[in-house]
Amino acid sequence: MKKQDELFRFLEYSPENAERIGYSDYSYWKSVWQNFLKRKSAVFMAIVFIALVIFSYVALAIAKYDYANLRIDASLSFISPNSEYWFGTDNLGQDYWCQVWYAAQISIKLALIVVLGECAIGIIIGCVWGYVRQLDRFFTELYNIINNIPTLIYMTIISMLIGQSFATMAISMISIGWLRMARNVRNLVMVYRDREYNLASRCLGTPIWRILTKNILPYLVSVIILRLATSIPQTIGLESTLSYLGLGLGVDTPSLGILLRNSRATFMQYPYLLVFPAAIVSTITVTFYLVGNAFSDAADPRNHV
């Protein structure tokens, strides 16, 4: 008996040592990146998008009219694009170029903030919700409550309590949007949670957060990215619907959604009012769709070997 005790003794669990045993040169994110770079169209669109964002600043700098000092002049309304008004003028005779680019900045900013906020909260809560069985009931209940109160009532009450502004809009959109993400993540976590390798991992005493981040999360990345990619155009769309209901960003903050909404009555006669903002929204959408798809393919660990 004594000899047995000397031969085998319990070691303190150390994740580093455990890792070292199965060490290989493989790095997940590096592989993702390499796979992603292979998709030329996506890389191209990503560059276009970055160029678009940069250009929106350049465009405002080189614009002949300053957004803050736009003058209304009925006699200049509906001038088609020319060398003076690069994107023409709107119904009030104001330069459309600076409005479009200013709005583009605002919309992109809003969409990115909202989507990143949604993701951060959604993934964290989704993982915990899906993995910890005891919390499933609580979160499901919370989800049911929030999800079943009509969005409109929220938006109304939030904007009534804190007023209308960019921050309000972002907060209220995130506070509703994280749910979809969390629910998605939760469902996938539930699918992978009880797979054999995770059972094995649990038996070996791997901490929960490690199972989540190393064993489960890589499987979720592709879906998360896709959700992210679709969320961006959705955010822009939701914003324009809210403007339609009078719950938008406020009079002095133009957004692509508002420009598109305004163009709706006139696009038959003056299509350029619709085309320019729509082109930007399309570019954003295309980018995120292609990049999202490419990235999610690249993120799938099964494609890495």
Binding site: R133, Q134, D136, R137, T140, E141, Y143, N144, I145, N147, N148, I149, P150, L152, I153, T156, I157, M160, L161, N187, L188, M190, V191, D194, R202, S222, V223, L226, T230, P233, Q234, I236, G237, S240, T241, Y244, L245, G257, L260, R261, S263, R264, A265, F267, M268, L274, A278, V281, S282, I284, T285, V286, Y289, L290, N293, S296, D297, D300, R302, N303
Partner: protein
């Protein structure tokens, strides 16, 4: 299973109760000034306005109002509309609006589901091919134009080029429903296609599919029996909820085409401060939502036996 069902339904009841209470309190947070229209405010004195609010019980303390609300709801008395259809029972205001909404919504859902999944499957089969690119272009187009603009485009095109009735008409239901249904399904087709493709592509990479290929199973069989079936699991969860939520209609679409459905009711209710209508609709939608989620879970368990929702003692 039965025990789980009963437990889940009881829980749902509790959820609905919570939601109803929360909505009730939220609605009471809106200022009572909203109760009167500008015309009414012009012609009623301050005193008269107070009298009306008092008679309607809106000046009672919140707990008293809440208690009255519970009592009435238990008696299935949902109150009367104050603004949308003055004096009419909320039940009558809703009337048969939901059948119209549901008919349009469910038709659109079916179309979207069939076309969307087909498109998604087509895209997967023809990955990087023409169908895939077409699907991508379609998805992008639908997503990049805000609903309100695309509805306007559809309306102009439909009524001017195709000669369809511009507005919904109860006298030519079939023809006049085409545009609203098309509008409703457009976004969902893109959505279903996108997710079907995503899940299928994910599934294609799994080891068992590789094995099946090596085993020499036909491509069609792999796609249909394994890939689609498994990819369908995550989608099934949302189906019952999507189906039930068609009762609520679509605010934008129904306002746009003057469809006499449920869609605009809630918005109008909130903006016009028609509390009874908002509360009743919230309870209705909440019940449907909770039921939908439950059915979704059940469907998912059925389609994928590996998933289990029951807390087992031994599993941790």
């Amino acid at each position: 299973m039965l025990k789980y069902t009963i437990k889940r339904l009881l829980q749902s009841l509790f959820t609905v109760f919570l939601i109803a209470s929360i909505i009730f309190i939220l609605m009471r947070m809106l200022p009572v000034e909203n109760y009167f229209t500008e015309d009414e405010a012009m012609n009623l004195t301050e005193e008269q306005q107070q009298d009306i609010l008092e008679a309607a019980g809106l000046l009672d303390p919140l707990p008293v109002q809440l208690l009255d609300f519970y009592k009435d709801t238990l008696k299935l008395d949902f109150g009367t509309s104050r603004r949308i259809q003055k004096g009419a029972l909320v039940v009558d205001v809703i009337g048969d609006k939901f059948t119209v909404s549901m008919r349009n919504g469910a038709t659109a859902l079916c179309i979207a589901l069939v076309l969307g999944v087909l498109l998604g499957v087509g895209q997967t089969l023809n990955k990087e091919g023409i169908i895939d690119h077409f699907g991508t272009a379609f998805t992008i187009f639908v997503n990049s134009v805000p609903t309100i603009v695309s509805f306007a485009l559809i309306m102009v095109f439909g009524s001017k080029v195709l000669g369809l009735p511009t507005l919904y008409s109860s006298r030519k239901v079939m023809m006049s429903s085409i545009m609203p249904i098309f509008c409703l399904s457009l976004g969902s087709i893109a959505g279903y296609a996108l997710w079907t493709r995503r899940y299928m592509v994910d599934e294609l990479n799994k080891d068992y599919i590789k094995l099946a290929k090596i085993k020499g199973l036909s491509r069609g069989k792999i796609m249909l029996k394994h890939v689609l079936k498994n990819a369908f699991v995550p989608l099934t969860q949302y189906l019952p909820a999507a189906f039930l939520s068609t009762i609520g209609g679509s605010m934008l679409c129904e306002t746009f085409f003057s469809v006499p459905g449920m869609g605009p009711l809630l918005t109008t209710g909130v903006t016009k401060y028609d509390i009874s209508v908002v509360q009743t609709l919230s309870i209705l939608y909440a019940s449907l939502g909770v039921l939908g989620a439950f059915l979704g879970d059940v469907l998912m368990i059925i389609f994928d036996p590996r998933i289990s929702l029951l807390t087992k003692e031994e599993s941790r």
